[in-house]
């Protein structure tokens, strides 16, 4: 415990120096960035999964390091302290969001090894970085389906994964594209998947994105895993997603669709089939105010008729200066009675957050 405290103190001290001292911040071989979020949530209704007491949340504080030991090698890490971490009291969470080495073979091709985010859809890689998106939380139906009524508790894809990745980006005329392939341990609950896989078949995931000059961006993702989970009985998992983004001017929208299956040979439903989507519209005016509307939908099991959940959000993101935004929104949760999390108890929640990026 003392060792962890020493390392944490050292990291924070170096980061403080780095932030205060331009010379270190601007060293060509080290760059430090970070973000933080402070939130408040209040549920208006008596029943529901929101917060009826109205609570403040020291949501997170993250430091992001980019280190360049050589001209071709980049070491990147994101260290997070969530919910006012206090290890002595067992409160909050300290985690390594990612830590990997990346070698640039040539400018368009990079090879990565370590713990990293799964490259799937629009939000997974930025889900903790609150300054990088408009709403208080990332979409739950497509990114947090295990907390949106998927009774099985399995996400469409794991948030983090450990292994190898190949990344490519380039230009096709004036249009841009990029793709990534990840070969990793995947997800399971038997061992620590960031250290040891519980089966010999590795998970394979990938994404392709194509951005047109006019601002339309299309993308497709997939994730295939062999869970072989003795605790849950789940076996093969396959998910794929489609995404559409458009934000060339003040007006913008996003659409994400995810579909997935999980085999459970020993279960009552041998093939779990589920799907979800998220759609969002927003408009920025005076370079400061961005009202947004988002709708989310999840069908956690297509064989069950009354288990769907949906969320409608109306809110505004106000840019207070270049590094801080204030988000205010109303979240309207609605569900069927058979939904494993919400059980048909509809509720409305007020959410607000200050997000800082540096």
């Amino acid at each position: 415990m003392k060792a962890i405290q020493k390392i944490t103190t050292t990291v924070l001290f170096i980061s403080f120096l780095t932030l205060c001292c331009e010379a270190i911040e601007l060293h060509p071989k080290l760059k430090v960035n970070g973000y933080s979020s402070f939130e408040y949530e209040y549920m208006f209704d008596d029943k529901g999964k929101g917060d009826p007491n109205g609570s403040f949340d020291a949501d997170l504080f993250d430091l992001v390091f980019n280190i360049f030991p050589t001209d071709r090698l980049r070491v990147a890490a994101d260290l997070t302290w969530e919910h006012g971490s206090a290890s002595e009291d067992g409160r909050g969470n300290v985690a390594l969001e990612y830590a990997f080495g990346e070698y640039t073979v040539k400018d368009s091709v990079r090879v990565r090894a370590g713990k990293m985010f799964s490259n799937f859809g629009i939000y997974n890689e930025i889900h903790t970085a609150k300054p990088a998106f408009l709403t208080v939380k990332e979409p739950q139906s497509t990114n947090k389906n295990h907390k949106f009524g998927s009774g099985d508790g399995i996400r469409f894809y794991p948030r983090w994964t450990t292994g190898l990745a190949v990344l490519n980006d380039g230009m096709h005329g004036n249009n841009e594209y990029d793709w990534v392939l990840q070969l990793t341990n995947g997800e399971q609950s038997v061992t620590n998947p960031y250290e040891e896989d519980n089966n010999s078949l590795k998970a394979l995931g990938g994404r392709f994105r194509y951005g047109f000059e006019n601002g339309i961006k299309l993308g497709a993702s997939f994730y295939h895993d062999s869970l072989e989970d003795t605790t849950t009985g789940y076996d093969k998992q396959l998910s794929y997603g489609l995404q559409l983004e458009y934000n060339p001017t003040a007006l913008g929208f996003e659409l994400e669709y995810v579909k997935g299956t999980v085999d459970n040979p020993s279960g009552t439903n041998p093939k779990l089939d589920r799907w979800a989507y998220t759609a969002m519209f927003f408009y920025t005016f005076k370079n400061k105010y961005t009202p947004y509307l988002r709708y989310e939908y999840l069908d956690p099991d297509k064989t069950i008729d009354n288990d769907t959940a949906n969320l409608s959000i109306v809110g505004v993101n106000i840019k207070l200066d270049s590094s801080i935004t204030w988000k205010v929104e109303l979240d309207f949760f609605s569900s069927d009675k058979g939904n494993a999390r919400f059980s048909g108890n509809d509720y409305t929640e007020f959410k607000s957050a200050f997000a800082i990026g540096f």
């Binding site: 990088a132 230009m171 001017t249 007006l251 990026g357």
Partner: protein, 201 residues
């Protein structure tokens, strides 16, 4: 109040708020398009199509780049920007596409020397920064920040370094063989040793 009635009320409230927001947005969008150049959102505005031209600078070894519009020419001293590299760098010119790809993080090394690019720019909200972002990157400062916020925090890439002072920025280029920077052209009067200005083709 029954559950059904409660749900109906929420749907109604959401619909009303949504419609209000949409109306406000539409009104504001109409106001913008009627007061500007009449382009619809999503199409290129006249500002986005501005050509970049090279205009001879008074300083010895440099050329200034300015927006080829009457408004830009009128404010040429405050809005023009130049591209500076380390004097050991063998390149003398760069084209707009290459420059854009460098600042998007897609070109990461100098092809001639194989050295890693270290990218600097004068703060995006400065007049030179805005001019560069508009004419080369086709972005506002906010969009540029958001682009890099997503890239950095997703672990995709390290960001270019924004510096507020031109003199400090030039000193970084002088000290760093792989450096490239966007600076305000007026700051080239005090170009330190170890820096040179390259042309934009």
């Amino acid at each position: 109040m029954s559950l059904a009635k409660k749900s109906t009320m929420k749907i109604q409230l959401f619909t009303i708020l949504s419609l209000t927001l949409c109306s406000l947005c539409t009104l504001y969008a109409n106001e913008l398009t009627s007061t500007k150049d009449g382009n619809k959102p999503g199409t290129k505005s006249s500002n986005q199509n501005l050509d970049v031209s090279l205009i001879a600078n008074k300083t010895k070894n440099s050329e200034m780049i300015a927006l080829n519009s009457s408004e830009a020419k009128a404010n040429i001293d405050s809005e023009s920007f130049s591209i500076v590299v380390n004097s050991n760098n063998k390149i003398d010119s760069i084209n707009k596409k290459q420059l854009r790809l460098i600042f998007l993080g897609r070109i990461r090394h100098w092809s001639e020397s194989n050295k890693k690019l270290n990218v600097y720019y004068l703060e995006a909200t400065s007049s030179a920064g805005k001019s560069f972002l508009k004419s080369i990157m086709r972005m506002t400062p906010d969009k540029f920040y958001l682009y890099w916020t997503k890239k950095v925090f997703s672990g995709s890439s390290a960001p270019p370094t924004e510096i507020k002072s031109s003199s400090k920025l030039l000193q970084h280029i002088a000290d760093n063989e792989g450096g490239i920077a966007i600076v305000q052209s007026s700051s080239l009067k005090n170009l330190p040793e170890g820096c040179k200005v390259i042309k934009l083709e």
